[in-house]
């Protein structure tokens, strides 16, 4: 469940504890104010004369209460500020020895995800999806290629902006397996609403298997329809923007499609990843994400089917 309250990462758990403290302290203060207001309304004195003025009376009681009230506010704020500082510290200290280094780059309107390894041949590039093993300490560098975006997976951590010309970073440490939704939290233009990514937290073994698959190119298509699809991909506009490892397509304008069929969703979370959705997306991306940078490429029905068949082989 996509929610701040269901904390599945160390960072989110720290913040969740702070949230509960806040809720209690602020809740009590609110009840006090409402109680005072309610009593003041209930005890209202009757006026004999409409024009009678209540002159300053003995204010000592109320003044003392004001001092006490102010003291209470100060104490509450002081406590919450301290708690906030300690939580902030805990956030910085968590995941301080990352085993996985990511570079996440925001584009209008999708995410590029790179697993950075000291050995370049073991680096992996994908899009709109992050796989992580349970318990891993993760560091992600955040960059933007165009406008400001914000990376937010509420189940794991708060958000951090991706700003052109600056590199930010965020640490993650998931504690429980599951699939979490990440979204862009900073307004970034027309399709800000449809800029999601999937975070899949799985066992170390599953993660390793996934990672090894990402390092390999998908096998060349064997079926005639898929083979035709590959030709379409290489000869029409597709390869101007997209890369597929093991082929000549190596552009980096749009998402890397080397293993597109293995991903959970399409078009940055706009569609589930199945053959029908893929077909619909390729035939008219503007109908699904109006304003998307992916143009409508005029192709015949048969070519579209072939292309879909080919892309579905990229496991």
């Amino acid at each position: 469940m996509h929610s701040i309250g269901e904390a599945m990462g160390v960072h989110a758990q720290h913040i969740d504890a702070l949230w509960h403290a806040m809720l209690w302290v602020c809740g009590i203060m609110y009840v006090l104010v409402l109680g005072f207001l309610g009593l003041a309304i209930l005890r209202r004195g009757r006026r004999r004369d409409e024009r009678e003025v209540v002159h300053a009376q003995d204010e000592r009681g109320l003044s003392m209460t004001l001092v006490a009230w102010t003291g209470l506010i100060v104490a509450g704020l002081f406590g919450l500020t301290l708690f906030s500082y300690f939580t902030d510290r805990a956030l910085v200290q968590a995941a301080s020895q990352p085993q996985i280094n990511l570079k996440i780059t925001g584009y209008q309107w999708w995410w590029q995800v790179e697993y950075v390894d000291p050995d370049p041949s073991r680096s992996v590039k994908t899009a709109n999806e992050i796989h992580l093993p349970v318990g891993a300490q993760v560091s992600a560098t955040l960059a933007s290629q165009d406008v400001i975006h914000s990376f937010w997976v509420p189940n794991l951590h708060g958000k951090q902006d991706l700003i052109p010309g600056r590199d930010n970073d965020i640490r993650l440490q998931p504690t429980q397996a599951g699939t979490y939704l990440g979204i862009c939290a900073e307004f970034c233009g027309l399709q800000h609403s449809k800029m999601h990514l999937d975070v899949i937290v799985e066992s170390q073994e599953a993660y390793n298997a996934w990672y090894e698959r990402q390092l390999q190119s998908a096998p060349p298509p064997t079926e005639p329809l898929a083979q035709r699809g590959q030709q379409v991909f290489m000869s029409s506009a597709c390869n101007m923007c997209h890369a597929i490892s093991g082929t000549d397509a190596s552009a980096s304008v749009g998402p890397d499609l080397s293993h597109v069929a293995s991903r959970r969703s399409l078009a940055a979370g706009a569609l589930p990843n199945d053959a029908d959705s893929l077909f619909a997306w390729i035939s008219n991306p503007q109908a699904i994400k109006p304003g998307s940078r992916m143009p409508i490429v005029p192709l015949s029905e048969h070519d579209l089917e072939a292309l879909t068949a080919y892309l579905r082989t990229l496991q």
Partner: protein, 641 residues
């Protein structure tokens, strides 16, 4: 100097009828079309502010209704992303720049001179000019929107999204230039208000006798002076990036995208307090009048207002916690943002304490004030949560924030404004508004508001981000979004009731008389509506609540000319009579100058040369406006107390 050489002065030798006749003649603003554009009567100008700002409020409210309609169901195709982005940008920009600040300015323009007990606002022609500039800026923005070239980068217009690379066309330019218009107008009003409060208070109204409403308007005006230049600078830099190829915000050429956010929020956070602080003044007036008790803890209240004014400038970074600024610096802003809860909490206490010891009568204005306390305090508490860096990292840019600032701004400013509308309507029109409708107005608003906005706290916690034109099914957000739509509908009904009440009461309301609520401050010491010169005789203030001390007859000061427009200036601290000051006559030139300035601003959206050649007509118009017209008469003599 003798009366003959100076004209006749107010004094024992004149009958009341004669005084009135002469003042009527002297201060006549004229009739007809020319007079309509030339008037410098602060009350007429302020009424235009009220009507214009209310129209913008209504329009922006309709946009809100459209947004909630679009979001009432998941995957709704009613409004596409392009239109939706324009709508939410227009909603925010209109509410902040064309409604909230101008209506507070209008309130100040109408009531500050009356509460000060003076005959006119300081710099009345500038006042006329500032209204026209505001009107033209608002019209330009809405005409652009009607032509489907409304801005679509958000009311905050973050670079580089709003820059030339990602917002081609003229949409953002209209937005940026609207800022220039309204801020120019706002700065002018701020200067008028400060000058009026400092120099034109009735004799005897020392600073420590000023009603809290005047204090709040004073603090607001100073905040405008310091905050608005920042956003004018920023919007001008943005226009230059877009129009002449500078690179202030372009990281690729050595600019900085974050610079925009600093400049914008250095204005944007105080802006919230610019809207909120006058509302505190309204609340203080209403609470005191309807509980028939002077506000508890007056000195503490004044200090709290000033403290909020100062602290308001130290919080802007809490809008930027997710941008990756240094942790230690961010912590400072956490502390500063928390601290502002102290003066706010003290004020809330003082109002309730006033009710506690007073004898409250729950007429519509006081009902809205109670609504204000219930809603605003909740918004303040969620503000405390958002001040914390770790909390904000989760809650920033979610529906939780939308809930928070609507609780603070609708609860903290719109509720007091409606209270003020019911409270001061009789002063402005001479008739009372309908109480029964008022109660319906209150309960529909209060319930509708909470239905619409309380669920948004939960939506934010459930991970719903702001500024999305649609969302998918299955995220658990459907029901609450539908509920929010129902709540907004109820608010819409409430606003219609308010409009009906405002319009109907103008003809059919009960006659109010000078002081229908038995209120203590000076605006109630004159007829409703007040004559153009406000007071036949300038009141003399001898206590904190003049109309409660002197129920039958207020002591007055005599000696001002009744044949020339004149008012008395007093000293800043003690309000001792100082000098006479001539008051400007009506003039068409502020209006013409505003047109000339407007043409220059709008043309500069299309060509930078407009700044060069377009500056000539305003220069000419303003020169004629200020051209000395004969001898204003000696103005340095002490009037007789």
């Amino acid at each position: 100097m003798s009366a003959s050489s100076e004209g006749i002065h107010d004094g024992e030798w004149l009958s009341e009828g004669e005084t009135r006749a002469r003042l009527d003649r002297t201060w006549d603003q004229g009739r007809g079309l020319y007079a309509f554009f030339a008037t410098v009567d602060h009350k007429r100008v302020a009424k235009r502010y009220f009507v214009t700002a209310f129209v913008f409020f209504f329009l922006a409210g309709i946009l809100a209704l459209l947004m909630r309609l679009q979001l009432a169901r998941p995957d709704n195709g009613l409004i596409g992303p392009d239109m939706y982005n324009q709508i939410f940008t227009m909603h925010g920009s209109t509410m902040m720049f064309l409604f909230a600040v101008p209506i507070m300015e209008g309130l100040a323009v109408y009531f500050v001179p009356l509460m000060c007990g003076t005959r006119a606002i300081a710099f009345p022609r500038l006042n006329s000019f500032s209204y026209w500039v505001y009107l033209f800026g608002g019209l330009m923005l809405w005409v652009a929107f009607a032509l489907n070239i409304g801005p679509d980068a958000g009311w905050f217009a973050y670079t580089p999204l709003s820059g030339p690379g990602y917002s081609p066309g003229k949409r953002v330019d209209f937005w940026a230039q609207m800022i220039t218009f309204t801020e120019l107008s706002g700065l002018a009003v701020a200067i008028e208000i400060i000058a009026t409060i400092f120099k034109q208070r009735a004799p005897g109204m020392a600073l420590n006798r000023m009603p809290l409403f005047l204090w709040s308007m004073l603090v607001m005006s100073f905040m405008i002076l310091f905050a608005m230049p920042s956003v004018m600078l920023a919007s001008t830099m943005l226009i230059m990036d877009r129009l002449v190829g500078t690179h202030f915000f372009n990281a690729a050429e050595g600019g900085d995208a974050l610079l925009w956010q600093h400049l914008f929020w250095f204005f944007g956070h105080p802006e919230v307090y610019i809207i909120f602080i006058p509302a505190l003044g309204i609340v203080s007036s209403v609470v005191s009048t309807f509980t028939r008790r002077p506000i508890f803890g007056y000195p503490v209240m004044v200090l709290a207002l000033i403290a909020i004014g100062f602290l308001g400038f130290g919080l802007w970074v809490h809008h930027m916690f997710a941008t990756g600024l240094p942790r230690l610096g961010s912590s400072f802003y956490t502390a500063a943002s928390m601290v502002i809860a102290i003066p706010s909490g003290i004020q809330i206490y003082c109002w309730i304490a006033t009710m506690w010891q007073g004898k409250p009568r729950f007429a519509t204005p006081l009902l809205f004030v109670v609504g204000f306390i219930v809603i605003f305090v909740l918004g303040g508490l969620t503000g405390v949560m958002l001040a914390s860096v770790p909390m904000d990292l989760q809650l920033h840019d979610t529906y939780f924030v939308i809930a928070h600032f609507h609780y603070v701004l609708v609860g903290g400013a719109v509720f007091p404004l409606v209270a003020g509308a019911y409270y001061w309507y009789p002063k402005v029109t001479g008739r009372l508004m309908n109480e029964r409708l008022g109660r319906w107005n209150f309960w529909t608003f209060f319930i509708g508001f909470n239905l619409a906005f309380f669920p948004m706290h939960y939506l934010g916690l459930a991970g719903m981000p702001r500024r999305v034109y649609t969302y998918s099914d299955g995220l658990g957000w459907n029901g609450l979004n539908l509920l929010a739509f129902a709540g907004v509908l109820l608010i819409g009904i409430s606003v219609l009731l308010l409009i009906i009440n405002l319009v109907r009461s103008r003809k059919h309301g009960a006659l109010a008389g000078a002081n229908p609520w038995n209120a203590p401050s000076l605006e109630w010491a004159t007829s409703s509506p007040p004559p153009t010169y406000n007071f036949r005789h300038i009141p003399l203030v001898t206590s904190d609540n003049p109309l409660w001390e002197h129920r039958e007859q207020l002591p007055v000061m005599r000696g001002l000319s009744v044949d020339k427009r004149e008012l008395v200036l007093t000293t800043v601290l003690d309000a001792k009579p100082d000098i006479r000051e001539p008051v400007a006559k009506p003039s068409i030139w502020p209006f013409i100058s505003a047109i000339a300035v407007g043409v220059m601003f709008i043309a500069s959206i299309f060509t930078p040369w407009a700044v060069v050649f377009g500056a000539i007509p305003p220069a000419i118009a303003i020169t004629i406006w200020f051209w000395p017209k004969g001898d204003p008469g000696p103005a340095d003599e002490d009037p007789e107390p």
